[in-house]
């Protein structure tokens, strides 16, 4: 259950990483917003993916 939640959250982070430049390319958001969104999405990915990978080995 814990792994499923972490995987979902990490997946959302990764999807947001690709969504941000697509929205910028389409002109829906500005450059600063895109870069900030990418940064936040990256932090989300790293946080949850790291917890998932390092947690899995312990369990």
């Amino acid at each position: 259950m814990r792994n499923a939640i972490l995987s979902t959250l990490a997946g959302i982070g990764l999807l947001s990483c690709i969504a941000a430049p697509i929205l910028f390319f389409m002109g829906k958001i500005g450059e600063t917003d895109y870069k900030n969104a990418f940064l936040v999405a990256s932090i989300v990915w790293f946080l949850f993916a790291t917890l998932r990978i390092f947690g899995k080995r312990k369990g």
């Binding site: 990764l14 990483c17 690709i18 941000a20 430049p21 697509i22 910028f24 390319f25 389409m26 002109g27 450059e31 895109y34 870069k35 900030n36 990418f38 940064l39 990256s42 990915w45 790293f46 993916a49 790291t50 990978i53 390092f54 080995r57």
Partner: protein, 454 residues
Amino acid sequence: MDQLYEFDREPVSSDKWQTGARFAGLFAGEHVAATEFVIGAFFVLHGVSFHDLLLGLLLGNLLAVLSWTFICAPIATQTRLTLYWYLRKIAGPGLNFIYSLANAFLYCILAGAMIAVSATALGLAFGIAIPSLDDVFPSSLGWVCLTMAIGIIFTVLAILGFEKLSRFAQVCSPWIFLLFIAGALAVLPRLGVHADFSNFLSVAKTKIWNGVAAEGQEKFGLAHVLFFAWFCNLAMHIGLSDMALFRYAKRWIYGFYSAFGMYLGHFLAWICSGIMVASIGREMHPGLMAFEAVGLAGATGVFLAGWTTANPTLYRAGLALQVITPNWPRWKVTLSAGLLTTALSCFPVIFMRLLDYVAIYGLVLMPIGAIVLAEHWIFPLLGIEQYQAQKMKRFFNLKAMIVWIGTLVVCVFMPFHLYFRWLPGYILALISYVLLHIKSDEKRSQQEYSKEIL
């Protein structure tokens, strides 16, 4: 990685064989590396045209996949041994020693290039200028201090927690791939591409891969791109280093999974870094390129890509050194490899001439691949006795050494571009190794016949 080298002197047992999905993931992760930021960008600087790039990468990567599938994987799945151990049977421990030493040194140079790529990202924060394209020696004290500091940190971290770093690399790998895609996508408007992609082809042909080489750079065509994509991992497929991976494959056909690394890393990522470098006025500066395209996350990505790919390269260099220094503990071997790597990373030539280095790296180790291939496949067909060095307890297979050095000498004097020399060199090594054995077998038969008559 530790698991990969678990069976270092014996065939991998069938209960340890891995599924195809594992190989797909492994290749996809390993071939989206820090060097991809440099290689794709260099194609733009070398004035490759859009058509030549696409066709060259499609065909060259296909040839690389076929080399893994039909040359490396079958030998690995039949022997279930690492190249080091199989080569020992073929060439004797003496030549294996020299091969390991050469391999370790070449790995250290590669890891040094990755440290230099990371340094371009960290240098942005400290305002350290990166060397120019034609620099051979360090151009500033700042660059030396930066690469030294990064090299030492990477080495210490590799010693303290290689396994944890490998797991962290699994986290980084898909994100770094997305970083390439995001960066390329984000700079397209700056290059003038419309949101509906309608003018992408015209921008690609005129502003990115416009066929005009940057000042001081050699002009590349289709053959250069095709051969580069093929030999980029020459030491791994034709050179058989990846026997270490494929000895865990259930079937040789798993070689086709290398396509995940080739077409995601050596196709898409190279195209993306080409787009990014065009957006910063064709300046060879991976850190700046990613920072301009993706912001702080981009520069961090370049740094992480250098770190996570230098780490396994350091480990591999350490493994090669371990053949030479069997009684040393792991930390000592990694420290030695790390210090050598750190010293090499200061020299901008290894990063600014990365394409040439990759060609030389493959070329140097290629004859060993030919020797093993001849011994494994051609000898049984021609009725030549295999593994003579092992059977006769020879420390040194002189014929293999002659072929290795002789091929390299001939390659040095070949009258064509560095990128095209390995293929005739490979054929030469293959034929000469077989001929030398046929000659010596004939001589031995004659001697035995003379003894019988007497």
